[in-house]
């Protein structure tokens, strides 16, 4: 469905007029003179990025548990228990199967996102203690997990529950936001329709609005834990 555009011509004509020229039909974006973003952690190995990522998690109040692919199911189970288990919500995501996590989750009170159920999904997520999700791209510089959310890997999962457990595969680590945005940029330039919700999350929600005191846990999750999987 095509959306609508209102009032555009007069508005843009005013801009062009103020700029003292005709409307521009095309623009050649220059090669920017300074591009320091590509030099940050340039040439770092995956192991160096892993170290950097772990370091970055502390200041953002995020616990990191490192594990191997084979140990992941156990580690996940333990983490769920440590964070009070209760009700859990997960996305419809093939990676739970690929990492062999479905049997681990079975004994718990787990809701898997199902678009057929409509609003019920949101109600479940809002009441859940834990949401579990996979980071699509992970940023070493800032301890950030990137979620390319869609209707199955829903945005509510790492937003509404009290705790967010994020599985971070070592293979998804890149130096910084630059590489994540470049991936997205290239997809846009290739004419792809990007996900409606691309969320880059670094730790639990927080606020310093009251006398500049940091309060962790405002609207989003109060606790965030990363399970860092050495998959490469």
């Amino acid at each position: 469905m095509q959306g609508t555009i209102q009032n555009r011509e007069g508005f843009l004509n005013t801009i062009a007029e103020r700029l003292g020229r005709q409307r521009k039909q095309s623009v050649n974006k220059p090669e920017w003179n300074d591009q320091p973003q590509f030099d940050v952690y340039k040439g770092a190995t995956q192991d160096q990025l892993l170290d950097r990522f772990k370091q970055a998690c502390e200041p953002v109040h995020t616990e990191v548990r490192e594990t191997s692919v084979s140990e992941l199911p156990n580690q996940l189970k333990e983490t769920i228990m440590d964070y009070g288990s209760g009700s859990i919500v997960i996305g419809k995501d093939q990676r739970f199967v690929d990492f062999g996590l479905m049997p681990t989750l079975k004994p718990f009170d787990v809701h898997e996102w199902d678009i057929q159920l409509g609003q019920e999904n949101i109600d479940k997520a809002a009441q859940a203690n834990i949401g579990i999700s996979f980071s699509d791209i992970s940023l070493a510089e800032s301890g950030t997990t990137v979620f390319l959310s869609d209707k199955h890997k829903a945005r509510s999962i790492n937003l509404l529950p009290y705790c967010s457990i994020v599985i971070v595969a070592k293979s998804t680590l890149v130096p910084r936001i630059t590489q994540a945005m470049r991936i997205i940029d290239q997809r846009v330039k290739a004419g792809e329709t990007i996900e409606p919700y691309i969320n880059m999350i670094s730790g639990p929600s927080n606020s310093a609005d009251i006398e500049m005191n940091l309060v962790v846990g405002v609207h989003g999750p109060v606790k965030v834990v990363y399970l860092l999987v050495r998959d490469c």
Partner: protein, 480 residues
């Protein structure tokens, strides 16, 4: 005038502010902390290679984008609409408000939740929505605090409730919302979380501002720590984004640089907790995304700066780095500016958007120390723009005092005539001798009066350097 705060004259606002001890102390300590954090995350972060290169990159991107603004806005509207979103270009605040009122009325919506947005403050959107019977709730913690305190106004563009202490906030929560706990920030925030969670779940419409729109992908990027903007863009069925027309980047490539500059300059974080790219959703069966997307692009006087010496003011990314280093802001706080945009950028922007009649004093509320220019991550020459405002103000834009105009004329004559200057210099000690005691003047006449209200003025020296220099040279010549 929603951009305007208060009706008192400037100096009355200043006077009130400098007698507000808590506020002053809060401003100073916030500045010291924010400045320290910013330095650590910018010039102090070796992994960035060289912060100056980032500033150069930011400036170049902003300049290019503003020079081609019509093109990028057109591209944005096409890409947003191609994804099913609706775009409305609003030349004025009234047009923007009217459109949003219509959208909300068409939905028969009663409950609106908002994420923090300066542009919606600027256009007075809350009042417009309340006028059509909507219940509007601010969800940013600071904005929420201000809202329930009888719509108090923001005193800082990033931390709007900076002027309030936790005891005041506790009392407001008690009085207005039946809060029963203590003034601990954790308890206050937990209470707001509960209250707002309910509001998010029942709201029909969510409204956000826009940190940057991405022209080629039709995306609105939001940068927050609390996650409230994510709630606002996840739960309600209708999503409305209001953006100042200059808040745009060509593509995700540039978004990277500007988000980096913004997060580090505003709060000294590598990234804020949430950096979210929201694009209209084509998938009808998605459960937790809005069904209806609107993007309202506001001019509101911004175009008056295009093609003028003030164009670079539109490069601003609202990080408040200039506010956090401004020694004037430090002492008078945000409300004294009388505008929702405070500090150096406020003193530059408010007269552009609101005129000299309302904001003519603001460009003078600066000692031109250039701390702002040095701090700006996109290299806006803020102190130079303040001088340019003064030039416009005295040459017809405003109402300078006749006495000031005259004294500057006399200055111009005196400063271009060595003999006149020497004559004045020679006469000064005698002329001022009635006011002089022990080589200083405590109560000066005429133009010296404001100076001597608070400080002594040095008595003009009877000593003559020119004469000394000649004799000194002569003596040196004789010695050889």
């Amino acid at each position: 005038m929603p951009m305007k705060i208060g009706t008192e004259p400037f100096f009355e606002r200043v006077d009130r502010s400098i007698h507000d001890d808590f506020m002053r102390q809060a401003m100073a300590s916030a500045q010291d902390r924010l400045r320290g954090r910013k330095l650590e995350a910018t010039v102090g972060d070796d992994s960035l290679i060289d912060w100056e290169l980032w500033r150069n990159a930011g400036e170049e991107i902003r300049r290019h984008t503003l020079e081609n603004l019509d093109f990028y806005l057109e591209q944005l509207s096409e890409s947003y609409a191609a994804r099913g979103g609706h775009v409305f270009f609003a030349a004025t605040a009234e047009e923007a408000n009217r459109y949003i009122q219509e959208v909300v009325q068409k939905k028969q919506a009663k409950h609106v939740v908002k994420a923090k947005s300066m542009v919606t403050e600027e256009i007075g959107l809350n009042e417009a929505l309340e006028a059509v019977g909507c219940d509007v709730l601010e969800s940013d913690l600071a904005e929420y605090i201000l809202q329930i305190d009888d719509h108090d106004r923001p005193s800082h563009i990033v931390v709007p409730s900076l002027h309030k202490n936790k005891e005041q906030i506790r009392d407001t929560f008690r009085e207005k919302r039946g809060y029963t706990k203590s003034e601990k920030p954790e308890e206050l925030a937990a209470f707001a979380r509960e209250e707002l969670r309910e509001a998010f779940l029942k709201a029909e419409v969510g409204i956000t501002g826009c940190n940057f729109a991405v022209a080629d992908s039709g995306t609105v990027a939001l940068v927050t720590n609390e996650g409230n903007a994510n709630m606002v863009t996840t739960l309600p069925d209708t999503q409305i984004t209001v953006m100042g027309m200059e808040r745009i980047v060509p593509s995700w490539e540039e978004l990277d640089v500007l988000v980096t500059l913004l997060c580090r300059s505003a709060v000294g974080q590598k990234l804020t907790t949430y950096v979210t790219g929201l694009s209209p959703d084509l998938e009808a069966d998605s459960v937790d995304s809005p069904k209806d997307y609107h993007l309202v692009i506001v001019d509101g006087g911004r175009s008056k700066a295009l093609g003028t010496e003030f164009q670079s003011a539109l490069h601003c990314i609202r990080c408040a780095a200039c506010v956090n280093v401004c020694p004037v802001y430090r002492h008078i706080g945000g409300h004294a500016y009388g505008s929702i945009y405070q500090g150096p950028i406020g003193a530059v922007l408010s007269p552009i958007l609101g005129g000299y009649e309302e904001y003519g004093e603001l460009p003078y509320a600066s000692s031109l120390c250039a701390a702002c220019t040095e701090a700006c991550p996109v290299k806006i020459p803020l102190h130079e723009l303040l001088i340019k405002h003064r030039q416009r103000y005295v040459s017809g834009g405003g109402h300078p005092k006749a006495s000031e105009k005259l004294s500057m004329k006399v200055f111009g004559i005196g400063a271009s005539s060595p003999s006149l200057f020497q004559m004045a210099k020679g006469m000064a000690p005698a002329m001022l001798s009635p006011f002089t005691k022990e080589k200083r003047i405590e109560k000066g006449p005429g133009p010296m009066k404001p100076w001597t209200e608070i400080r002594d003025f040095p008595a003009p020296s009877r000593d003559n350097f020119r004469k000394w220099f000649d004799e000194h040279k002569k003596k040196a010549g004789d010695d050889q």
